[in-house]
Amino acid sequence: MGGMRARADRARLFLTAAAVLLGCGALAARPAGGPTAWAGLPDLSLIVVVVVGMIGVTAPVPSEYENLLGRVQWVAAVILGVAAFAAARLLTAPIGPPVTALAAASTVVAAVAEEAFFRRLVYGWLAGGGPALAVVGAAALFAVVHLPAYGVRALPVDLAAGIMFGWQRLATGGWTAPALTHAAANLLQLI
């Protein structure tokens, strides 16, 4: 009986680890930028991110981490996160070409999908090792999957952003505060 349970636990762990690692692989491998010949249509990369986000939403995570009540008010966590990203945006003047409304909408969808994956599934997967491992581990994976698209110089920023989202996940007990903050942070880049 005990052996069967141990086997079942191992299988659960293996399948969750496979979903996390393959999801990260998909996010890292998706071609960035998209072929210009398809201008006006959603990039296939967006479909990859959306599917990964759906995996993040549907994959089972231990209920003790899923429904853990946070100690910080949801609104306070969102305000703090958005304020940090807005202040950082004021420090910089990023150079980039104008974007279409479709691109702006897709960056919001991508942000929510990524948070469902990293701050629900990945965080839940790592939470058994303690909150520090969950926050930093999810942030590290988040930073690594962005390496192919943004390069090594953006790594510290992506890592720090992941830690902020991870703190929001820990403090509020859910992934919606980081999702909203991530979407706002992406949009702030377009102003």
Binding site: A8, L15, T16, A18, A19, L22, G23, G25, A26, A29, R30, P31, A32, G33, G34, P35, A39, G40, P42, L46, V51, I55, T58, A59, P60, R71, V72, A77, L80, G81, F85, L91, T92, A93, P94, I95, G96, P97, T100, L102, A105, V109, A110, A111, H146, A149, Y150, G151, A154, V157, D158, L159, A160, I163, M164, W167, Q168, A171, N186, Q189
Partner: protein, 239 residues
Amino acid sequence: MQPTHRGRAAREFMWGLAAGALYLAAVASTWPLAPIRILYEGEAPPLPYRWVHPPAELSQDNQPPESGTGQIALSLQGSPSTSIVADDGQAGVIFRFGAIASRAGATSAQVKVVPLDPATLPRPPSGLRVDGNAYRVDATYNTGEPVVLRMPMTVVLRYPRHATMLLRLTDETWTTLDAHIVPGSLQIFAGTDHTGVFAAVGPAGPPPAVWVGYAVAAAAVIGAAAAVAARLLRARRRG
């Protein structure tokens, strides 16, 4: 009971402030080493590239590229931290605080970013082709002399297909700059201690096939979905 909860909440909020400060420090130290939209997921095809001289297959829909100009006020310490960007966002140049040296009698510097047809310039080194337009960056004091840079400025170019290097043209010779490529936004940037003509270049021949990345991503995402489906199925079987 209540004070304990409040105390814990306050402590967790302090961790949030620390996370915010960490993010600000990361951005401040990275800028202008990465002067691009670093947290922006460009998950939609970018606007079409604007060519000075487009390839034949794109000539019908091509819009001419735009220039950028800017006036930078100078103080005793030199120039403020600022950027001058072409109106279509395809090229820009960033000056850190004090990058342009002050000069007796000069109160400002004029910076121009102008697109050029690379076919009118010397050919890049063998095995390379210019990807997109070349851009001339001129910077002069309001007294007419070329500016003196006290520290490198950062040149940022958008490229249309596949660039691996950023070159500067000096006296008919192309010099390779230590560039950083951002495939996510089809941009390349590098520090340079001289103004001049800049071009993003890539290997001659067709760019790498995009479908390989899509195929790997699709296989990985299907595998991840299968793992989750198997996990859900097992959970359902166990009731």
